[in-house]
Structures are given as structure tokens and as C-alpha cells.
Subunit: 341 residues, 2 copies
DNA sequence: CTGAAAGCGCTTACAG
DNA sequence: CTGAAAGCGCTTACAG
């Protein structure tokens, strides 16, 4: 930077002002400085700038190591684009238990962080609050008031699926809920909120409601199909919340000679287009508004960085996309049971 | 840090030495310093350390914005773990065209970078070389000699699939190759190398070889199935290199009344367990050694950071996993054709 | 509009 | 084994 200043015949302050647009400089000097920069191939040292200004213009999104490999939902790419559109960079920073996060927040490498995979009781939120480090959440804790949250409107999203099934005449519906283990199932808000909303909406509609839980794997979906047939023999429709299991669930039904959607309708709840397109028949599904949520979270974080107070949680509904896996309910559900034997 | 030094009654140099283990300090002073640090809840400022030492202990893996959302392969989680095991952090840094990469490499925020999605002619490699910035590749350029590369051994991996199909009696085999567009198909080494190896291995075995190209989507896989039936009527087996298309391909065949594997055997080439498990029947596949490749790439980068010269490219083969989509070839392939009509 | 100077929080020869 | 001091490459009041 000193070299640039020398070549342009100015002080390094002026160079800094030009780079950051912090202060007015005479157009003529500005041009001299810019010429000098490009002639010297000057690249600003981001680390030094960060140390002096306490701003890196980098924000992070943090998620568990496994989630790094992606679920096909465009959360990360959308967040990265949103960051870039406001002149920031986004990095993805893996963290399982808050240890890496502490290093991230304490170290000054990034200006703020977006948390994914938020749990109802999330120690990371407490940690960041105690460090007074700027953050935003994709998801919600149990009591999200006062926190900058962006989340899926589970209630409205589920209503999309339920109303559609009800309109097709289904009156006995199963929710295949769950997570990788029992503790996860209880700690993730999306899971708990889906189960609650399901029971409430089914009751309101006078429909029979059953909840099964399963893990997030294709194989688990196959097993869930067997349990579905055994434990809910009168059910004519299933809503699957564990996206990887959805394909397995349909496969499991087909293997048992149960036709989809002739015998049983299946809706995949909050999944990606890709996963929904994979099975044969392709799935009717409620699409996660991943792109929008990620963008809104980055925007919320940036408002935070500008010193604005947090607003109320922002909720967005998923969208129903009709595929080949749903159809009218069989008239007499007992007939369906008979067919299955 | 000055506070810590004061409280421990030492100079800040000693504190620095304790934190970094750079120099010997008397156990007694060390203990005093450590006590002072924990009492004060001291967190080292990573940015200041980076500026002074020119080492951040952070490495990046860079990939296109879309690839951020993952393909289910454990590249990123494995790389992150590998980095952590050698006391570094890994961030994921999206980059489409080298512009973001230049900021990353020039800015001093990370010590080195792992490049994914490497093309035969890759401008990012040239850029990093000209900046003299440490990097390692997952993948290979056209001429990778002298570069720190880690890649899938396409030839050996394909032989796994080919030998298995040949042993089942298949003598007319189709490769469904491709990428998101024609330019990609020509520019990605994995694609080009697979096609080349396929033609060579088929010829060596005296088998009939056909290549079809398709895009990386489920829907493209369905269309590819129709083209397979039309353009290669005598073929009894297909190897699919475009992972998302594999499920669609099987679905497309089934829709046309072609049985898998009774009429046609299908192998998915270099995919993840998850994608292979999704279709019904589940796919026989050659698993990408993603975990190993990512780990090796991080190790290669770290050797680079320690000043060691690059070795020759490191190649690792994929592993054949037998699923439900492969079986003996139909005796007379003409019979198969007749069946299909 | 421009510049001299202090300071961001560390590391690391160097001297003791 | 320990400390005083220069320096990493910037930003930013402050004075002119």
C-alpha cells in the first residue's frame, strides 16, 4: 500500500480512502491512485484491514459436519449469493458442539454467523449471546422472541399437505416423522412442531391420525412402510417428514404389492425437488422454501451488523407440488386392507 | 493478552509462547499463565495472529456455488475432519469463476486452498500458480505433473464395473456419460477419461460399446432410458456416470416395461450410497472414494504448507457395491429386443 | 482535500 | 528461561 502511495505521490491514507470509499478524494488523485494500484497489481490484505477496522466483510454459516455434504436444498448457495450481493463473502464453517464456533466467534475472522440445524434448546445460541457476537438463525429455538430467526412456517406448510389429502377424500392419515435418533426427534423444532400441527389439524378435520417415527435413511423408509401397513391398516395416506426416507417408503410399499397412489397416497413433507423426483412414481411434496429462508437469514444478520434490533421471527410456508404419488382415497378403507393381505 | 501477562506477572512474549508452544517456558510460569488465561476467559484474536505470523491455520475448499448444496458425497465433511485432525480449520468458499478465489488467495485469510470440480484446462490453477498461493486439487488438469493432485482412478474404477458385467455375460454395453452441457462434458476430466477408458476396455474385451450423453438430472435420466432403448437395441447393460440421472434411468426403463435386471442390468458409476439406495430396485454401483480423496487432498495441501514439494498425482479406485440392478445377460440379445416391442 | 501518526492484537528475532 | 521492542499491513481520528 505504501508502494501504491509512493507511485501515486500521495499518502497511504488517501489510498485507503480510495479503496474503501470512506472519504471524498479529488477525482484526479483517485484516478492516479487507481492507476498505481492496477499497475502494481495491488491486492489488499484482508487480514490487516480486519485487524484495524474490526470488520472482515466475511460472514459464516455454521452447521454440523455431516450436514456439510448437503441434502440437495439450496440453503448454502442461496446464502452465499445473498452475502455477495451485499458485498460480503460467505464461508461455511463446520461445527458439531460449539467448540469450533467459539473459535470462530472469538477469533475475529468473521463478522457474524448464521446458525443452521437449530435445536429447541441450543447451546450455541447461549454461547453467541454471552459473547455478544452477531448471529441469525435458520430455524427457531423454543422461545425465539427477540432473536433474529428465519424459519419455515410448519403449520401453514402442513396445512397445504393436509388440505390436499382431505380434498382427495382421505380420512385416515399417517405422519412418518422422526430423526436420526430419539433425542434428535425431541430436540429439533421442525420435528416437534410438525407432529403437534399434524395432530391438531387432523383433529380439526375429524380425520384419524397416526404418528410413526423413523430415521433419515432410505432403508429406514422401507422399514417404515412395513410398520405403516401393520400399525395403521386403515390409513390411506402418508406424509413423510424425513426426506431421505421418502423414496424408501414408496419402494417398501411397492415391494409389498401396495400400489401408490391407487392404494396409498404419499406426500413428502419439506423436501427438495431432487429427492421428490427420484422415486417411481415421483412424489407429491411440499417444497422447503430453502432459497428464501437462507436469503432472509443473511439479510437479518446484516441488519444486525448495522446495529438494527432483531425483529420478530420471520416465517415462510413451503409450497405444495403435485406429483404422481397422490390420488383419491379408496372408498372403503377396509377394502384396501383386504387388498393388502 | 497484556492483561493475561500482567495477571501472571510475565511479559506478553511468554504468553504467546505458551499459547503457541513455540518455545520452552518453565512449567511453573506456564501454569501461572494458563490459570490467568482461563480466569480472564482469554480468547486469542486469530486475525492479529494471522497478521503477525502470516499463518491463519485455516484452509479453504473452493467449489462452484451450486456444488455448495452437496451431492451427498462426504467430500466436505471428510476434508473438514482431516483439517481439524492436524489442528487447522476448514472453511468452504464458493467461487464460480476465480474472482472470489483471487480475493481469498490475495487476502491472507486462509493458508491454502483445495480446489474441487477441476477442469482439464482450469484457469484457477493458473491463477494460484501465478500468485504462488498453496493449493491442492481433487481432480486433475490435463497435464497434472508437478501439481499436488488427488483423484479417482477412473480406469481401475471402470474396470470394476466392466469386469463384473462381462462376467455376467454382457457383451453389448452402453455408457451413459455427460454433464450439464456439452462444454462441461468435454472439459471435465472424469467425463472424458471415463469415455476413453470405456471404449478401450470394451474393445479389449470384444464387447459392443455405445456412448450416450445426458444431463445430471433425474428427468434427463428418464429420457436417456428412452434413447437407450431406441439407439442401442441390442445392449443388455448400462453404466451411468451422471449420478442424479441413475434413478431416472431405471424409472424410465420400468415405465417402458423393461425389467431391471432381468432385461437390462444397470450400474451407477461413481455415486454415493444414498443415491444408489434410492431407486427400486436398488442400484449396483461403483462408490466414489470421496472420503479418502478429500482426506488425501488436505494432507497434500498441508505438506505443501510445510514446504514439501508436490508428489505425483495420487489415484484411488472406486469400489464396486452389488445391489439389485444387475444380473446375468439375456442369452440372445435379439430376444430382449423382441420383448421390448 | 490531504498527510503524519497512533493503534488494531498479536509474533518473533534479539539481547539479556 | 524471560522481556523489550519492532513489525505484520491496514484504518481512522486528528490536525492542517
Amino acid at each position: 500500500m505504501q508502494d501504491v502511495a509512493d507511485r501515486a505521490g500521495v499518502s497511504i491514507s488517501s489510498v485507503s480512502f480510495v479503496i474503501n470509499g470512506t472519504k471524498r478524494v479529488r477525482p484526479e488523485t483517485r484516478e492516479r491512485i487507481e492507476r498505481a494500484m492496477s499497475e502494481l497489481g495491488f491486492r489488499q490484505n484482508v487480514v490487516a484491514r480486519a485487524l484495524a477496522s474490526r470488520r472482515t466483510h466475511v460472514i459464516a454459516v455454521t452447521l454440523p459436519y455431516e450436514a456439510l455434504d448437503g441434502n440437495g436444498q439450496p440453503f448454502l448457495s442461496s446464502a452465499a449469493r445473498a452475502a455477495r450481493s451485499v458485498n460480503h463473502h460467505l464461508v461455511v464453517w463446520p461445527d458439531d458442539d460449539g467448540g469450533d464456533l467459539a473459535a470462530l466467534a472469538g477469533g475475529g475472522l468473521v463478522d457474524g454467523v448464521v446458525l443452521m440445524g437449530v435445536r429447541l434448546q441450543d447451546p450455541r445460541v447461549t454461547l453467541l449471546q454471552s459473547l455478544d457476537f452477531p448471529f441469525a438463525l435458520i430455524g427457531r429455538t423454543e422461545d425465539p422472541s427477540g432473536l433474529p430467526c428465519v424459519d419455515c412456517d410448519i403449520d401453514a406448510s402442513l396445512a397445504e399437505a393436509m388440505d390436499y389429502l382431505l380434498s382427495l377424500g382421505h380420512r385416515s392419515i399417517v405422519l412418518v416423522s422422526g430423526a436420526n435418533d430419539e433425542a434428535d426427534a425431541e430436540s429439533f423444532g421442525a420435528n416437534v412442531r410438525t407432529e403437534t400441527a399434524f395432530l391438531r389439524q387432523a383433529e380439526a378435520a375429524g380425520a384419524e391420525a397416526t404418528i410413526l417415527r423413523t430415521r433419515h435413511t432410505v432403508q429406514a423408509g422401507r422399514s417404515a412402510a412395513l410398520r405403516f401397513l401393520r400399525e395403521a391398516p386403515t390409513a390411506t395416506a402418508a406424509i413423510i417428514r424425513t426426506d431421505m426416507a421418502a423414496a424408501g417408503f414408496v419402494g417398501g410399499l411397492l415391494t409389498q404389492g401396495v400400489q401408490v397412489p391407487a392404494d396409498v397416497s404419499v406426500i413428502s413433507f419439506l423436501t427438495s425437488d431432487t429427492v421428490a423426483a427420484m422415486p417411481q412414481p415421483s412424489l407429491t411434496y411440499v417444497a422447503t422454501p430453502a432459497e428464501e429462508l437462507a436469503r432472509l437469514a443473511v439479510e437479518a444478520l446484516l441488519r444486525r451488523l448495522c446495529g438494527e434490533p432483531a425483529r420478530d421471527p420471520i416465517l415462510r410456508p413451503g409450497k405444495l407440488v403435485i406429483g404422481e404419488s397422490t390420488g383419491p382415497a379408496k372408498r372403503a378403507s377396509t377394502a384396501a386392507v383386504a387388498d393388502r393381505r
